[in-house]
């Protein structure tokens, strides 16, 4: 009959060598935290791009700008033309939901302590919140002339302290000083790393009369096709219309190499972790050759001993996973990361937890199997004599 070793045997074994157990636990936890960092990075980037797109919003910008709206320059009359020619634009109380915007990356001074950083500034009008519905002013007011509204992640994008962007403080960009009137969030969308200011002021400051883009909100269930057809028909305007969801999906493709690289890092970190685990488990098992042989002499089958050793490894890895998971949730989740397109937060969501803990448990199993098999292959009589 196949008899397993008692469950407590493996648990007690771990507690018999507390220093080795704690060191192994810490090493495993560090590896799993690293996995969480990389997976959280990928999930945060994906999430930021996914929530930035609204299926009812269409972006109209220059045909020559390809996928980079910062390079776009379109005529100032474009919003009026679009509003007059497209029937599918949402309209309430006589106001068409059309948002003309000027968008560019520029050097922003956030006070002497924080210095200057590359910020993303969007000149907007009062119709912007009608189109960008995820935007919420969380404190302060909508900006008047000479004022700016600062996104939740703008400080991370600028590399400045959050206190430098407090209401009432001043920013300098495009040769002007701007007072911070309030802060906004956007549900994790990419605008959260931006600074918004009145469109007319921004056009004056940049000495530009054109726009970067026009964002349109369609009636519910509307299709971007009408706007696309308008742009194709008015070839003289050299415009393109792209659904906002499709636009951010194309950015997902643009950042695919970065995401692939991040997954490669996950694989490499996990691989390194397996080797570290193997090393530790070889050390742990090598010192127990006599004990393992004694168990076999007592009548426990090799499979039972193997299971007990794997149980120890998995138990240690599970504890390390929980520890790393707690660290990731409390310390890493929501950490702002500066990136070329703005900033986003590390996201330790259910998928990240599943991957991190899965890798952790895998380390436990894969790390403990080879040394256990090696120890069990040795003849019992010889092993009993081992020092």
């Amino acid at each position: 009959m196949f008899r397993l070793l008692p469950w407590e045997y493996g648990v007690r074994n771990l507690l018999r060598r507390p220093v080795r157990t704690i060191l192994t636990l810490l090493a495993l936890a560090v590896v799993i935290v690293l996995v969480f960092v990389v997976v959280g990075f990928v999930r945060g980037l994906e999430r930021s791009l996914a929530v930035s797109g609204d299926s009812d919003v269409v972006l109209v910008y220059s045909l020559s700008a390809a996928e980079n709206i910062e390079n776009s320059a379109i005529a100032a009359r474009t919003p009026g033309l679009l509003a007059a020619n497209l029937k599918g634009i949402q309209e309430r109380f006589g106001v068409k939901h059309v948002s003309p915007e000027l968008y560019l990356g520029t050097r922003v001074e956030a006070g002497e302590a924080s210095g200057a950083g590359l910020g993303l500034v969007r000149g907007v009008g009062l119709t912007a919140p009608l189109v960008r519905r995820s935007v919420r002013v969380i404190d302060g007011d909508w900006p008047d002339s000479g004022e700016v509204l600062v996104g939740k992640l703008a400080a991370a994008k600028l590399g400045a302290e959050a206190s430098a962007l407090a209401i009432g403080n001043e920013l300098e960009f495009e040769g002007r000083t701007w007072r911070i009137s309030g802060h906004f969030t956007a549900g994790g969308a990419s605008y959260e790393s931006e600074i918004w200011c009145p469109l007319a002021d921004f056009q004056q400051a940049t000495k530009r009369q054109d726009l970067s883009l026009v964002a349109l909100r369609l009636t519910p269930g509307g299709s971007p096709a009408e706007a696309q057809l308008f742009c194709k028909t008015r070839t003289d305007l050299e415009l393109q219309a792209v659904g906002e969801t499709a636009y951010y999906a194309s950015l997902q493709q643009h950042y695919k190499p970065v995401r692939m690289l991040a997954w490669l890092v996950v694989a490499l970190v996990a691989g390194a972790g397996v080797f570290a685990g193997l090393n530790m488990m070889y050390g742990a098992v090598a010192g127990r050759t006599r004990e393992i042989a004694t168990l076999q002499a007592l009548g426990f089958r090799r499979r039972a001993v193997l299971l007990s050793i794997v149980q120890e490894g998995v138990l240690l890895a599970a504890t390390g996973s929980l520890f790393a998971g707690a660290v990731a949730l409390w310390l890493l989740n929501g950490l702002a990361i500066r990136f070329t397109m703005g900033a986003f937060t590390l996201r330790i969501d259910s998928t990240a937890i599943l991957i991190g803990c899965g890798v952790g448990l895998l380390l436990g199993v894969v790390g403990s199997l080879p040394p256990a098999i090696k120890a069990l292959r040795a003849p019992v009589a010889e092993s009993l004599k081992a020092i």
Binding site: S64, K232, C357
Partner: protein, 172 residues
């Protein structure tokens, strides 16, 4: 005692992994029935190239145009039977140049401006057919097409054709 603690730890781990957020998927299908007579079985006679047509055609005039599907990286309108065509005389990147989207005429944008027209395949009531041209006509970028229909001109000199017949030249 140890067993209970271990089971609790593993249970907690499973609970972490089980947390998930609801996901939403939106699907949209605008396809509609298509009149088969739109696809011509033989080439309409008297086709003129797009560049020539832009110089002479009046608004409302019946025209037959020949052109190459292209003019931008995405010449088709998603969900509608509409696309842009460029005069066949305008050269595009040869395959050996390795351009991923030769139909955007990236090297000849100056010429495209005066040699481009929009084709809108319309139904009997004159509205654009709500099926993607790639599905409706089995046409693709850089296909040479001959379209017949009413010309639509505006003050800016743009040319569109409300096409009721489309012929795709085989092998081109």
């Amino acid at each position: 005692m140890y067993q209970k603690m271990t089971v609790a730890a593993l249970g907690l781990l499973t609970m972490f992994a089980g947390c998930s957020e609801p996901s939403t998927t939106v699907s949209h299908d605008d396809s509609s029935a298509v009149a088969p007579h739109v696809v011509a079985t033989s080439e309409p006679s008297g086709a003129v190239p797009v560049g020539q047509a832009r110089e002479s055609v009046e608004d409302g005039e019946e025209v037959v145009l020949v052109g190459v599907v292209g003019g931008s990286s995405q010449p088709f309108v998603d969900g509608l039977a509409a696309f842009t065509i460029v005069d066949p005389k305008v050269p595009y990147c040869a395959p050996e140049e390795g351009c991923a989207t030769p139909w955007d005429y990236c090297c000849e944008q100056d010429q495209v401006k005066d040699n481009i027209a929009t084709v809108k395949v319309v139904d009997e009531s004159g509205n654009p057919v709500a099926t993607d041209a790639r599905e409706l006509l089995e046409v693709e970028e850089l296909s040479t097409v001959v379209v017949k229909g009413a010309a639509e001109r505006d003050e800016q000199g743009n040319l569109a054709v409300l096409a009721n017949q489309v012929f795709i030249r085989p092998g081109e």
